[in-house]
């Protein structure tokens, strides 16, 4: 036997309590991972944003349009390597809000130049470009509705009244994990050349997305674009894609903060549960610890025993939580997908799991500090006589 053996034996003193504590800890870790993933969900688009991409929108708000004529003027600026534009279409397949998914009118020729993370087989891409009312759908979205190449999809317009039918020419995948494949894009010409649009609505786009040759110069290019249109009827605001997405996160910051607060509450609950168990264990072992001290064991050995117990609980809880949490996240995304559209797969990041496991162990150790100190504070002579 050695110190580790001694600690191990101590752990099995009350197997039921140990198991309950580890389960409670695991529940906490699971909830923590779950909430961290919910926060990640808010930052999802911002994290996927490319550094070399700028978003140009109307200065008043992103729902106000920009003229199509800006395209050539932005493309001519030095430092700009590609430009494309898109327009939020907001069509629905059914009548309810339930089947919601994002759909845009995009410039078929340039879309993939600026968004190379969407990968489409060349033949499908050529077909998409050749048909004014061609559409590309994301892998996940295609799966959800069972769409395949050659299908015709009809969307009910909101901003653009009436039914709009598009020909699905391709299914795109993400070039890397984390790319959103839950949207539908279709050719801008289908919209712009339709006689259903009023004169005022024609030749208007939602935003421009711009790629720059050197990410370090993106602020400079953004300023140049805004200067170009400063005195026009449609002044612009250009920012990096990340800043654009972070703008939405900032507007939801109250919710993100609330979720963060709840996450800290979880850590507190884990602290209480593990602390409670350790405190009970220490109280019951007062005489054992006093005996060890009388035999000549130093206080730090006793502290070490208690902390070993707490870190064991922390590690087990973390291991269990890390295993269970991704399943739980899956259930949750299914629950909300009905309302908010499909969620990307594999939301739980390895990074989140590591952080949560670390947090669990640290919290467990913290929970052990008080009981450990109590274990060595009691005078030895007094502890020896304590009947548990």
């Amino acid at each position: 036997m050695n110190y580790a053996g001694l600690a191990a034996r101590d752990l099995m003193r009350n197997p039921l309590r140990m198991t309950l504590t580890i389960l409670a800890g695991a529940v906490g870790v699971t909830a923590f991972i779950f909430l961290s993933t919910v926060i990640d969900l808010f930052y999802y688009n911002a994290r996927a944003a490319q550094v070399d991409r700028l978003i140009v929108r109307n200065k008043v708000s992103f729902t106000q349009p920009l003229p199509l004529s800006y395209y050539a003027r932005i493309a001519a600026l030095p430092g700009v390597t590609a430009v494309t534009h898109q327009e939020w279409f907001g069509g629905k397949v059914g009548d309810s809000q339930k089947d919601f998914f994002a759909n845009f009118a995009v410039d078929a020729r340039t879309f993939l130049d600026v968004f190379p993370e969407f990968v489409v087989p060349p033949a499908q891409l050529a077909a998409f470009r050749g048909d004014p009312c061609g559409a590309l759908v994301g892998e996940q979205l295609a799966q959800r509705f069972g769409w395949k190449v050659g299908d015709r999809v009809t969307l009910k317009g909101q901003l653009y009244p009436g039914d709009w039918t598009f020909n699905v020419h391709g299914v795109y995948r993400g070039a890397r994990p984390g790319v959103d494949t839950t949207t539908l894009v279709f050719g801008y010409r289908c919209l712009n050349e339709s006689d259903r649009l009023t004169e005022a609505m024609k030749d208007k786009v939602g935003i421009y997305a711009v790629r720059v040759d050197d990410p370090a110069r993106s602020a400079e290019v953004a300023a140049a674009i805004d200067r170009l249109f400063d005195n026009s009827p449609y002044p612009t605001k250009t920012e990096s894609e990340k800043a654009f997405q972070m703008g939405f996160v900032a507007m939801s910051s109250a919710i993100v903060t609330a979720v963060r607060v709840v996450s800290s509450v979880i850590l507190l609950i884990i602290l209480l549960v593990i602390g409670n168990t350790l405190a009970m264990g220490v109280r019951e072992r007062t005489r054992d610890f006093a005996t060890l001290r009388a035999l000549g064991f130093r206080p730090r050995t006793v502290v070490g025993l208690v902390l070993a117990e707490s870190s064991f609980i922390g590690l087990c809880s973390a291991a269990l939580g890390v295993t269970v949490a991704p399943v739980l996240v899956g259930v949750f995304t299914k629950l909300i997908a009905a309302r908010f559209g499909p969620m990307p797969d594999n939301l739980t990041r390895a990074h989140t799991l590591w952080i949560s496991a670390l947090a669990a162990v640290v919290v467990a150790l913290l929970a052990g500090v008080g009981p450990a100190l109590r274990a060595v504070r009691l005078p030895v002579a007094e502890g020896l006589r304590k009947v548990a």
Partner: protein
Amino acid sequence: MVPLFYNTRSLWARRLSTGLTVVGLGLVVFVFSAVLMLANGIESALASGGDPSNVVVLRKGATSELVSGVGRDAVRVLATDPQVASGPEGLPLVAGERVVLLSLPSGRTQAMNTSARGISEASFEARPEIQLISGRRPRPGTNEVVLGRSLVGTSPEATLGGELRFARQRWPVVGVFAARGGAFESEVWADGMRLGTAFGREDFSSVLVRLRSPAQVDAFVNRVAADPRFTLEARPEPAYWADQASGLAAFIRVLGLFVSFVFSIGAVLGAMITMYAQVATRVAELGMLRAVGFRRRSVLASVVVESAMLGAAGGVLGALGALATRWIHVRTLNFQTFAAVSFGFSPTPAILLGALLFGTGMGLLGGLLPALRASRLSILDALRA
């Protein structure tokens, strides 16, 4: 029945464990009730917008004013409906309105999307819930605006006497209004024509129609749907606003209940740990109770009751904590409308009662197994321990 003071004294004797458990249970109840209060707050902020006599007319298929468009002639046609209420000067209470999204500066560099409503003459008359709390209404044909009271202070110039800047124009704030806590309180109201010009919008987003009485609403909705002159859709105003909030409220509610559920498992385990320890340290006492003649059932009940006390204490603590959040006000983006909404935590008696029951229930559940163990003890073994 074992007297209750035996349980209270036992809990008191192990104050630390008892305290830790109660605080743990309390935190869970706190999250549970705070979340319900928040979802309730969102719903009452948005859903309470709207009057039962009013209908909102949108383009067919549009889910919100922001994506809707209604031609100007539709307003004239709708105004001829016989059931439309009349204002003080015989003016029909039909208001074509334009809703646009502004981005107002907020804090340092952040911007907050805010709905601006371009109003017509009848807009105020048709909405009795709107009360000016300071200043006056904007004069027609000017850039004057009035603010919903939730907006005051959210942007540097968003206050009576301030001057907003958007769409390359200046918009002096001449008044602040309340709307019984409803969604309008998060809006900027300006003259419809001026706003339309500034944003290049000729047609209306929606038409608000006030009917003579709520009873006429259904018939009017049907008349609009059947009218071949336009492709419009009328919806009762309260239903329209309830819908605008449904996503956000559902998100908060699903998230919150999910979290509460997961938490409660942890808390039940915590209560169980404490109650097992209570039973373990009192084996001799419980054996004595059985020896002097208390039945198994009484011992079982005693332990369960003790655990329920823990839970109820946690419930009270959590509910009190949740009540304290009443003073917190939240402003966030409604991702259905892309505009910010303000709301608070609004408690209801049902939520508070629910919190107490939830806490007590967790205690009961946690005490069940330990109680079973206590009642199964053999008297002789227990006395010898």
